[in-house]
Structure formats: structure tokens, C-alpha cells
Subunit: 319 residues, 2 copies
């Protein structure tokens, strides 16, 4: 039991975790009290929470502890960015078995802290409990800095649909792991450590994005949420959805190994865990380089590709 969190004990574990979490100017009171106190100069605060369960959202044999820390932070920080806000802090809830190695916790905390730093955020507090299954609960807060939040319901006919970030790489990376093809591959890297374009969230808000969300359940399904909430139709341009070469190559690797992959475009349209940002903008907005226009908003309902119905087949956490 040496070198496990059970041997370290609750307070030892908390001390070890917090030692690795540098604070920022946003944190008025950090770890160690009943609650954190965080600046919210805007007078409003963006707040989101996500759970990651071992065996469902990550596997310790497929991802390093550091990878899991990066990903746990990234998926929450991306939700904050998708409202148009700058992430300020994370809170970490860690439910873990006593036999979890301290090394794993150290790596996880380092990944969490590094991803927070990449987004300008700090880990300001949390909770640790014993549990049979390693489960990570992250809450992220963010600051809009005076701009309106970008919701899902503001898309209007005539708007363009644009994406910042990578589509399909994470999902094909997951299929590589499932097929036992763990070798170096950029899609594997993307699956293990998604790189959400955090700064494009506030940037899109400042540019007047009419709707925005984090693409986490597959592009079609997520754009379906914008279409439904906004009462509009979205039509995508297949030419603009050309899979990245990394996706093409990973699919070729899967096919060569007899793993029966989906078509490259299917990974782009319905992959999941992309943590790209999808947004709609008035057609007059000049978009910065990280944004690619992939379609347009029309009157009507639903999401189509080149006018044809596309059946979203995204992710249901209980299916």
C-alpha cells in the first residue's frame, strides 16, 4: 500500500494535489477553505460541470495520467469558451480507490494544471473521496468580460456556419485504440489530449457570433441543437467538410488492419469528443484564420449536407 493514495491519506492527498496547482489573479481564496472565492468582475459567472468515469471516458492503459488530466480540464474549459467566456478556474472532484498510485495522481494533477495554464485558468479547489471506480468531476467557471453570452438559440437565416478546431480526429483515434493500433498517430494524440481553441470562444463572441457550442457529441448532432434551439435549418457544404489528411491516414491504417472503420467523412460528421467550436455568424463578419466556413443557416429545420438529410448518429451516454 506504500505509494498509494490510501497510504497518503485524505489530507496528504489534498496537500499533494494543491501543491501542484498554481493560482492566478482570478483566485481570491484557493484550496483549503470550505469553498473557493473567485473574481467575477463582469458581475456574471459562466459555470459548467462534467464527469469522467474510468472505463467509460478514459482507460488507464490507453491514456497516461497526464493525458487524463489534460482531457478532463479541456472538455470543461471548452464548454466555458463555447459561451464566449474566458475560463478562470476549475474545481476538481476526485473519487478514487485507495490503491490508486500516488504517481498516477501526480501525473493527472500535472496534466490538469498544464491544460488550465494553456487556457489561462487555475485549479481553485475541490474534493477527494474514496470510491471503487476512479471518477473525475470537473467544474469550470469563466468570465465574459462584459460581452453577451453566445447561446445556442441565436442563429438566423442568412448566417454562415463555421468551425474552429479539429473534426473527426479524436473519434478515429479512439477506433485505433479499440483496434489495438496504439502506435504514434496524431489522431491518437488528439483523442488523448484534445486541443480546444479556447481563445476563439471570446473572439467569436466579440465578432458577433449569433450561436456557438462545443462540438463534443458529433458535428451533426451538435449543430442539430443549434438548429432546434434557433428554429432554423442548417445546410453543410460537403466540399468544406473534407476530412483532414490525418483522418484519412488513420482510416487507411484501420482498413489495412481489417478493423472495418467508418468512412472518413463519417468521423468528421459524427465523431464525438472533437472539442472544436462550431458557431454561426452574420454573413458580413470577416472570420479570422482559425475559423472555416462549413455551411449556412436557412429558414426551416434540421441539418442537411448539400440539401440531403443527414441522420445524426452522435453519442448517447446511456445507450
Amino acid at each position: 500500500m506504500l505509494n498509494t493514495i490510501g497510504a497518503l491519506g485524505e489530507f496528504g492527498l489534498i496537500a499533494r494535489l494543491t501543491a501542484g496547482f498554481p493560482q492566478t489573479d482570478d483566485v481570491i481564496i484557493g484550496p483549503g477553505d470550505d469553498a473557493a472565492l473567485v473574481r467575477a468582475g463582469d458581475g456574471r459567472v459562466v459555470a459548467t460541470t462534467d464527469l469522467l468515469v474510468e472505463g467509460r471516458h478514459f482507460r488507464r492503459d490507453w491514456s497516461t495520467a497526464r493525458d487524463v488530466g489534460h482531457k478532463a480540464a479541456a472538455q470543461n474549459l471548452a464548454d466555458v469558451a463555447a459561451m464566449g467566456a474566458r475560463p478562470t478556474v476549475l474545481l476538481l472532484g476526485l473519487a478514487a480507490p485507495p490503491e490508486l498510485p500516488v504517481d498516477w495522481v501526480d501525473g493527472f494533477a500535472a496534466g490538469l494544471a498544464a491544460e488550465c495554464a494553456a487556457a489561462g485558468a487555475a485549479v481553485a479547489g475541490g474534493d477527494t473521496v474514496g470510491a471503487a471506480t476512479l471518477t473525475i468531476a470537473i467544474t469550470a467557471l469563466g468570465d465574459l468580460g462584459g460581452v453577451p453570452a453566445v447561446r445556442r438559440d441565436g442563429a438566423r437565416p442568412g448566417d454562415v456556419v463555421a468551425v474552429a478546431g479539429n473534426l473527426g480526429m479524436s473519434a478515429v483515434g479512439l477506433d485505433l485504440l479499440r483496434a489495438g493500433l496504439p502506435g504514434p498517430d496524431p489522431c491518437l494524440d488528439e483523442h488523448r489530449r484534445p486541443r480546444p481553441p479556447y481563445r476563439e470562444g471570446p473572439r467569436a463572441a466579440a465578432l458577433g457570433a449569433s450561436a456557438m457550442l462545443d462540438v463534443s457529441d458529433g458535428l451533426l448532432q451538435d449543430l442539430g441543437h443549434i438548429a432546434a434551439a434557433s428554429g432554423v435549418a442548417i445546410d453543410l457544404d460537403p466540399a468544406a467538410l473534407r476530412p483532414a489528411s490525418e483522418v484519412e491516414e488513420a482510416v487507411a491504417r484501420l482498413a489495412a488492419a481489417g478493423a472495418d472503420p467508418r468512412r472518413p467523412l463519417d468521423y468528421v460528421l459524427a465523431g464525438g469528443e472533437d472539442h472544436a467550436l462550431a458557431a454561426t455568424f452574420p454573413a458580413s463578419v470577416r472570420l479570422p484564420g482559425r475559423w472555416s466556413i462549413i455551411g449556412r443557416v436557412d429558414a426551416g429545420e434540421g441539418v442537411t449536407v448539400d440539401g440531403s438529410p443527414a441522420a445524426p448518429s452522435g453519442w448517447d451516454h446511456f445507450s
Copy 2:
């Protein structure tokens, strides 16, 4: 599988949950977007998170779904109150097996919403995922309304130590359940649905409390945190710690059943899950009726009872 959350599906479950969560003026954007948007008029926000794991923090055969909802909310809302803040919103992370009955979720959500209402808060968002073990992650936010947060490190020699809320009842209630004595008992009720004195938190802050915390790991252990953080000693008055008659009676029931209970005073000193508030105040402060003075702050270190060392035997989540 009918009438389970697996049959309902993720989006059905979310719709059902959110339908039961009334919003308040603090919620600008509630459930349904990437993140919630919450008022933080003070320019700062209090934030805390806790995990509850089935089998560790609750048992479905010992507590109703509604009880679990009340308790999950209460322990987080109490942490917000313990900073001197008014709770504004909760975020709910629910990791649950697909076979969980929808009825259980309905009861849980009703309890969560009712406890939030008692504290003036709303459930503003969350996340649901599939998992083998039912796990609840709650984050609570709160508003200080312009007053300084009450930390653990401000106790000064000469201050009085005071408590608002019940001590020992929850722990003896848990021992009743462990002993197979589930009959009606106020200590059982307190264990299943703690009743933190939420409004006493901001009230204590307004009165000039120098330190405060939520008593969740046992009075001695938690006061030890104030003593250590403040660099002071705390001496408790045994006459002021007389166990409530409910604790005495529950201990008598346990003894009569041959269950070898702790002494009543031990439940008061080291019970756990009390969710009372303990605070220190300058001696000149006139305390309102819900606060009882139980000791005083001296120069030195550690926590004593009538001058004698008291070995804290609180709760370690990994022991």
C-alpha cells in the same frame, strides 16, 4: 428496462431532470446550453464541489431518493454558507447505471430542488453520464453581497467559539442504521436530511465572525482546522457541549440493542456530517439565539476540552 434511465436515454433524462428544477433571478442562462450563466453582482463568486458515492456516502436501502437529493444539496450549500455567502445555484453531475429507476431520479431531483429552495438557490445545470456506481457530484456557487468572506484563519485570542446547528445527531443516526435500528428517530432524520442553518452563515459574516467553517468531519477535527490556520488554541467548555436529548436517547437505544455505541459526548465531539456552522467571534459580539457559545480562543495551538487535550478522531475519506 422500462422505467429506467437507460430506456429514457440521455436527453430524456436531462429533460426530465431540468423540468423539476425551477430557476431563480440568479440564473441568467439555465440548463440546456454549454454552460450556465449566473449572476455574481458582488464581483466575486464563492464556489465549492463535493462528491457522493453510493455505498460510501449513502445507501439506497437506508435513505430514500428524496433524502439523498436533500443531503447532496445540503452539504454543498452548507459550504457556501460557511464562507458567509448566500447560495445562488447548484450544478449537478450524475453518474448512474442505466438500470437506475426513473422513479429514483425523480425523487432525487425533487429532494435536490426542495433543499435548494430552502436555501434560496436553483439547480442551473449539470451533466449526466453512464457508470457502474451511482455517483453524485455537486457544485454550489454563492454570493457574498459585498461582505468579506469568512475564512478559517482569522480566529484571534479572546474570541469566543460558537456553533449553530445540531451536533452528534447525524453520526448516532448512522449508527442506528448500522445496528439495524431504522425505526423513527430524529437522529435518523438528521442523518438522512441534515438541516444546515444556511442563513446563519451570512448573518455571522455580517456580525463580524473572525473565522467559520461547516462542521462535516467532526467538531474537534474541524475546529482543529481553524486553530491551525489561525495559529491559535481553542478550549471548549464541556458544560456547553451537553449532548442533545435526542443524542442521549439514540445512544440509549443502541446500548439497549447491544450495539456498543460511543458515549453521547463523543458523538458531539467527533460525529461527522453534522453540517452545523462553527465560528469564532470577537467577545463583544452579541450572538443571535441560534448560536451557542461553546468555548474560547487562546494563544497557543490545538483544541482542548476544559484544558485537557482531546484527540480528534474525525473522518478520513481513504481510511
